[in-house]
């Protein structure tokens, strides 16, 4: 078939082949000159060249010039992955004056030079792939990208600092934003902290004004205690279903006076207070914390006697002067349309019970860092007084870094913030108690602005830093001074011997992990996860807030552990990406959709039920199948199934793929 010279009527196929050195990235492992030489012998090839950097301005100009000079009408570029530069070369092709879809890329870097070690074999492979591309590109057709209008609104999922920042940035540009938060209040983890490293500025002072701004913003619709249930559609045009869980409170009426909480039949709390990470109890009717946004109470259906079918005098109802309590409320479903989605669902902390030798849950005076954040804050369960669960004020405190981080038995990754927050807590605990503080670390990771200086400050303040992974925490004394204490056993890797250090209180600096439901969330938004379960960005360097699904962006710790400054910066970037989409006003749809040729369609209906998007219907009058190009996402499932070969997928046509297979293999 390689002798076939003409297609598209009488037009002669004239192919230009360009192979990139990528500096030495490709050229060191592939003899690019030899590949270009070989390709020049293939039929229809008019130009075959190698060049140092094809993606550079000069490289692209080479394509443009050669199209004009040699009347090229097909372009093949052998370089890096098409996922990186397909758009670049299609645009260059278009600049040359021909349809961009006459360009095809061959991946000889990621799939070639970078993964092979034998230059001769890698060069052979590049030649075979070139031959396949030269074979398929002659069948390429001129294609147009369809334009669809964009709904100028965004959905932000998760109301931590990432979601808050992204929502405000977008709303301030005049775009409508729906912010959906699962908990009854926004704020995320940051709302639980007393101070933030390295500046030790008050977390509430910088966060709560932003939370109020979200609430008051005319362009933001805030739905707390709500979850996204489903999403359909495509970039620029998503339909989203949001479940708003029953609060049993009329939001319009409640003013957050807390009279109901005071009058609840439970005079003291009966369930663990989530906001204080279980260090105190709350009542069935509660406000998560005084600065909660929205400033509304919520009734916990599990803890409430009445909602559990019990007999309760419902004193809360009587207490509410505004008659805001409504036990008949049910969940409601909101259907919204948005053009872009920012996923900002954050993280959870590692469960230290997975490291039983650290005694969490067994020894009352072993705490997690998040618990200690609550202990040191003046609005926390102890109003800032650091007393241990057994009542003592600690005189010696051990802080164990990297619990559930950098650990092959649990999580391999570095959680990035634990060294810094450990030192923050060391400072605060010392400030509150005057205790002697021991930090147990593997390496101190302080790579941020002002971070290393903070570490130095901590050393100057007299904190002890002991290098070594803690082996065990035990209450079994070996010597008199360990009596009644928790003893931390560690191999001091600088001193080179095992030490036992008795302390009153242990703080476990637990790492950051993806949420337990991160797989469900990612499936819903059709995005990928890294091995660890954090959501995957489209490109680690060049597209760090985009995902493989157009119109879905990432912000904050759901993408990977990071501190607040990085989270805020990333949220701004995600908002900017979303804004670019929303402001353009339209999206260009990839033309790789499928089309039924009514001449060949036998009307067998095989394809109808296969399409996951219900894009195929039957034209009963003509007795043939028809694909709606707006609904088709171009998976190609129907194409592969049609027994009559009546369906064609643009850019993945049967003849293109068969030719590619045949020619790749024809290279001996």
């Amino acid at each position: 078939m390689m002798t076939e010279l003409h297609q598209n009527g009488q037009e002669e196929v004239r192919i230009g082949y360009f192979v990139c050195h990528c500096g030495t990235n490709i050229a060191a492992m592939i003899d690019v000159a030899a590949v270009a030489e070989y390709v020049s012998t293939l039929p229809n090839v008019v130009v075959s060249k190698d060049y140092r950097y094809m993606c550079s301005e000069a490289g692209q100009d080479l394509i443009v010039q050669d199209i004009k000079e040699h009347r090229l009408n097909r372009i093949v570029v052998a370089a890096c992955s098409p996922l990186l530069h397909e758009r670049t070369f299609r645009t260059a092709t278009q600049r040359g004056g021909i349809n961009p879809f006459f360009c095809h890329m061959v991946n000889i870097r990621e799939h070639g030079s970078w993964v092979h070690e034998d230059r001769a074999e890698a060069t052979e492979k590049a030649k075979a792939l070139a031959r396949g591309a030269i074979g398929r590109v002659k069948y390429h057709k001129a294609l147009e990208k369809r334009r669809e209008p964009v709904t100028p609104a965004a959905l932000v999922v998760g109301g931590g600092i990432a979601g808050i920042q992204a929502a405000l940035t977008l709303a301030n540009t005049g775009k409508k934003v729906y912010l959906v938060e699962r908990d009854p209040t926004i704020g995320g983890h940051m709302a639980k902290f007393d101070k933030t490293f390295p500046t030790l500025d008050c977390a509430a002072c910088i966060l709560t004004p932003k939370m109020s701004e979200v609430y008051a913003h005319p362009n933001i619709v805030l739905w707390t205690y709500s979850e996204v249930e489903g999403i359909e559609g495509y970039v620029g045009n998503y339909q989203v279903r949001v479940r708003r869980k029953a609060r049993y409170i009329d939001e319009e009426l409640c003013v957050g006076c807390l009279d109901c909480v005071d009058e609840c039949v439970f005079k003291v709390g009966n369930v663990d207070d989530e906001f204080n990470v279980g260090l105190s109890k709350r009542k069935p009717v509660y406000m998560p914390f005084p600065q909660a946004v929205p400033k509304l109470v919520v009734i916990d259906p599990v803890a409430c006697t009445h909602l559990n079918g019990g007999n309760c005098q419902k004193s809360c109802v009587d207490a509410c002067e505004r008659a805001a309590i409504n036990f008949d409320q049910t969940d409601t479903i909101e259907e919204i349309k948005v053009g872009a989605v920012i996923v900002a669902t954050g993280f959870k902390t590692f469960d230290p019970k997975r490291k039983p030798l650290y005694g969490y849950g067994k020894y009352p005076n072993v705490y997690t860092a998040l618990e200690v954040e609550r202990l040191v804050t003046s609005c926390g369960p102890t109003e800032g007084e650091v007393v241990c669960r057994d009542g003592r004020t600690p005189k010696k405190i051990g802080i164990v870094h990297c619990v559930g981080s950098r650990d092959h038995q649990t999580n391999r990754w570095c959680s990035r913030v634990c060294c810094m927050y450990s030192m923050k807590l060391a400072h605060l605990l010392h400030e509150h108690t005057g205790a002697e503080i021991y930090n147990f670390y593997i390496d101190i990771r302080a790579p941020g602005k002002g971070y290393e200086e903070f570490y130095e400050r901590l050393q100057e303040e007299g904190n002890h830093f002991i290098r070594g992974r803690v082996a065990e925490i035990t209450d079994i004394p070996k010597v008199a001074e360990e009596e009644g204490m928790l003893t931390i056993r560690v191999e001091d890797s600088l001193a080179g011997f095992v030490r036992r250090i008795p302390v009153d209180m242990v703080v476990l600096s637990t790492g950051l992990e993806p949420h337990a439901d991160s797989q469900d969330v990612r499936r819903m938004f059709n995005i990928s996860c890294s091995r660890e379960g954090f959501f995957l960005e489209r490109h680690p360097k060049l597209a760090p807030v985009s995902t493989t699904t157009d119109g879905v962006y990432l912000a904050g710790c759901c993408q990977g552990p990071k501190d607040i400054p990085d989270t805020v910066a990333q949220a701004g970037a995600a908002a900017a990406e979303a804004l670019t989409l929303l402001d353009t006003g339209y999206v260009e749809m990839e033309p790789s959709v499928s089309v039924v040729d009514p001449i060949f369609c036998s009307g067998c209906k095989t394809c109808l039920n296969l399409c996951p998007y219900h894009a195929i219907t039957r034209d009963d009058a003509k007795g043939v199948a028809v694909i709606n190009p707006v609904l088709c996402k171009g998976c190609g499932v129907c194409v592969a199934a049609c027994p009559s070969g009546a369906i064609t997928q643009n850019l993945f046509e049967d003849r293109e793929i068969f030719e590619e297979i045949e020619e790749v293999l024809a290279y001996a």
Binding site: S81, P82, L83, N107, R109, E110, H111, G112, W114, V115, H116, E117, D118, E121, A122, E124, K125, A128, L129, G132, R523, N526, S528, C529, S530, R531, L536, T548, T549, S592, L610, P612, Y613, K633, G634, C635, G636, V637, V639, A640, A641, Q649, F652, D654, I657, F658, E660, I661, E662, V664, L665, A666, A668
Partner: protein, 164 residues
């Protein structure tokens, strides 16, 4: 290509998972045998069983299909269709006397660059052990057999050969 050289694997990789994983293997500079030739498709559901048969018929020693893990298909369920077709193909290939190791279906997500490396290396070793498939040559031999058994078919076979 001399007999003792590398086998040839034609690989059909889904754009969203295995193709991206192969990119990741590259970015991570993992090393594997230069035996695969990747044809990119948007979804494993696009893979027509004919593609696989054609690959064997045109001289591939093995065919590798890479798709998204069950439940993770970018287009909801294309991979389940691929799985069904793979089952069908396995039966057909068995009937044709083609060893089962020559067709491999793998679910490899975008983050599993190391799986790409492992699978291609394993498959390369398997195919080396099996030796070249040489289906094109065998087809010719089968034609000869057919003519021997059924001389009347000679004409039909000759006609088909012209068309092929």
């Amino acid at each position: 290509m001399p007999e003792d050289t590398q086998p040839r694997i034609l690989a059909f990789f889904c754009n969203w998972c295995t193709y991206t994983a192969a990119d990741l293997a590259g970015v991570s500079r993992m090393k594997y045998a230069a035996t695969s030739r990747v044809v990119r498709v948007m979804c494993s559901g696009r893979i027509d069983p004919q593609f696989v048969l054609s690959a064997f018929a045109k001289g591939a020693d093995g065919v590798l299909i890479g798709g998204c893990h069950p439940g993770d298909c970018h287009y909801i369920s294309g991979n389940t269709k691929c799985l069904r077709r793979h089952r069908l193909l396995k039966r057909m290939l068995a009937d044709m006397g083609i060893e089962p190791e020559r067709l491999r279906l793998e679910w490899i997500s975008a983050s599993e660059g190391d799986r790409v490396k492992t699978v291609i290396n394993e498959m390369t070793a398997d195919l080396k052990r099996l030796g070249p498939l040489k289906l094109p040559e065998r087809c010719v031999a089968w034609d000869v057999e057919a003519i021997d058994e059924e001389p009347d078919h000679a004409e039909a076979v000759a006609k088909e050969a012209v068309h092929a």
